[in-house]
């Protein structure tokens, strides 16, 4: 049966990037459709009526929503190569736990770096660095969060690398100085074609966030 795979996405979304990385890892051909989030397509609203958000993967006409759910779906359907989740149940549970941690913590905390000022900003910076410290400790001496091979947690977190320049600039810190292991890990991931070809240029992301910040803070 001819596979039809469509991805509704937005270039700068670290959540959408996760799906793109997973699709690339598996060598899946798909149609990429860029959404204008200020003018969402009928297709998006139809395929994700509950949240109206990207990414949405449409596989043979059926929608799958929520980036980590999509990545697991991709891993389960295209299970012939590049497994993203480990096979051992305990390791799978750890992978899901840490991907969930990234979801719950990194985005919200990172967002505060460019949407807050003054005292709030100081607290946001502290919180963000704590979160990175926790992730760095979890990584330890492993080449990837998944161990010897690139896996689920790596996919969940590496897409934020494209936002590091923005986080550093608005957060007023140096990622390399604070968390060199994270940088080393991210650069290692960037050696993989699936990651390098997916992640947009950090400068472009920075400019996008700068624009959003101006609008948000009303400058």
């Amino acid at each position: 049966m001819a596979e039809e795979v469509v991805l509704l996405d937005f270039w700068v979304s670290m959540f959408g990037m996760r799906v793109r990385v997973a699709l690339a890892e598996k060598g899946i051909k798909y149609e990429y459709r860029e959404e204008d989030l200020r003018n969402k397509s009928d297709l998006l609203l139809q395929m994700n009526p509950v949240h109206k958000k990207i990414p949405v993967l449409i596989h043979n006409g059926k929608p799958i929503c929520e980036s980590l759910i999509i990545v697991q779906y991709i891993d389960e359907v295209w299970n012939d190569k590049s497994p993203l989740l480990p096979s051992d149940p305990y390791k799978r549970a750890q992978a899901r736990f840490w991907a969930d941690f990234v979801d719950k913590k990194v985005y919200e905390s990172g967002r505060k770096l460019w949407t807050t000022k003054g005292e709030e900003h100081g607290a946001a910076k502290k919180e963000f660095l704590e979160i990175l410290k926790t992730l760095e400790e979890e990584l330890g001496e492993k080449p990837y969060f998944g161990g010897e091979t690139f896996g689920f947690v790596d996919v969940a977190f590496v897409t934020f690398y494209s936002w590091f320049n923005a986080f550093e600039t608005f957060g007023e810190f140096s990622m390399e100085a604070e968390h060199p292991k994270i940088i080393a890990w991210a650069k290692r991931c960037m050696q993989k074609e699936s990651v390098a070809k997916t992640l947009p240029d950090q400068q472009k992301v920075y400019e996008f966030v700068l624009g959003m910040r101006k609008r948000f803070l009303g400058e």
């Binding site: 799958i64 929520e66 759910i69 149940p89 799978r92 899901r96």
Partner: protein, 233 residues
């Protein structure tokens, strides 16, 4: 028939009111796994909890052969994968799995957070929250109709992942109706869910785990009083 594992092999750190803890216990019951329930004292966290879940310091934590697993939905999936000879909790089809995971995430990210504050909300704020919960229930009713395909549960003939994820909330749902003096699960609007709720609570794996509405109401009052008294949590 009990699964052959020493009770010491499997421990659940939890507390009876928590819907998240209930999820882990239902999952173990589905697999007929015996376990030791270690109740946390409300208001304090045991050394074991802090050691087993240093990242979030929250219940439930499943400890299997000395190794901890945290986050209720991660725990449920772990239980399903380890005790693979027992009845399946997640659907077998990847698409059905994605749908079940989607709605479980919805319950956690949207439904429960809008339910919780109703009991102490007033006026306009309360009306807005109730509207949100009711809209959520209508969505879940639709999901139920699609997922159950005419059978009793989201999982079909037997309770599955989404039944566990959502059903664990029923105690608090009913308690919120009582405390907030509002009807949420309404036969006129969500008849499927009303029927499902009854079947779910009567299921063998669930019996005794959904606390009495009165007990939860008392517990909620206790927590509210404690928070007012201490000034901060």
């Amino acid at each position: 028939m009990a699964n052959t594992s020493s009770t010491h092999d499997v421990k659940v750190l939890g507390a009876w009111p928590s819907p998240f803890v209930i999820r882990a216990r239902i999952a173990l019951n589905i697999k007929s796994v015996e376990y030791e329930f270690l109740a946390e004292t409300p208001g304090s966290k045991s050394q074991l909890l802090l050691q087993s879940n240093p990242v979030h310091k929250k219940i439930p934590v499943l400890i299997h052969r000395g190794k901890p697993i945290a986050e209720s939905l991660v725990i449920v999936q772990y239980i399903d994968e380890v005790w693979s000879s027992g009845p399946s909790i997640l659907p077998s089809d990847p698409y059905d799995r994605a749908i079940a995971r989607f709605w479980a995430a919805y319950v956690d990210d949207k439904f429960f957070p809008s339910l919780r504050p109703i009991k102490s909300a007033q006026g306009e704020e309360k009306a807005a929250l109730v509207k949100q919960v009711n809209e959520g229930l209508v969505l879940l009713e639709e999901a139920f109709q699609k997922s159950s395909k005419g059978k009793a549960f989201f999982g079909g003939d037997r309770i599955g992942y989404l039944d566990v994820a959502f059903g664990s909330m029923l105690g608090w749902l009913r308690a919120t109706e009582k405390m907030g003096e509002v009807k949420l699960l309404d036969e006129a609007k969500t008849p499927g869910l009303v029927q499902w709720a009854e079947s779910f609570c009567a299921d063998g794996a669930v019996k005794g785990l959904i606390p009495d509405t009165e007990k939860i109401v008392e517990f909620a009052k206790l927590i509210a009083a404690r928070m007012k008294g201490s000034g901060s949590s």
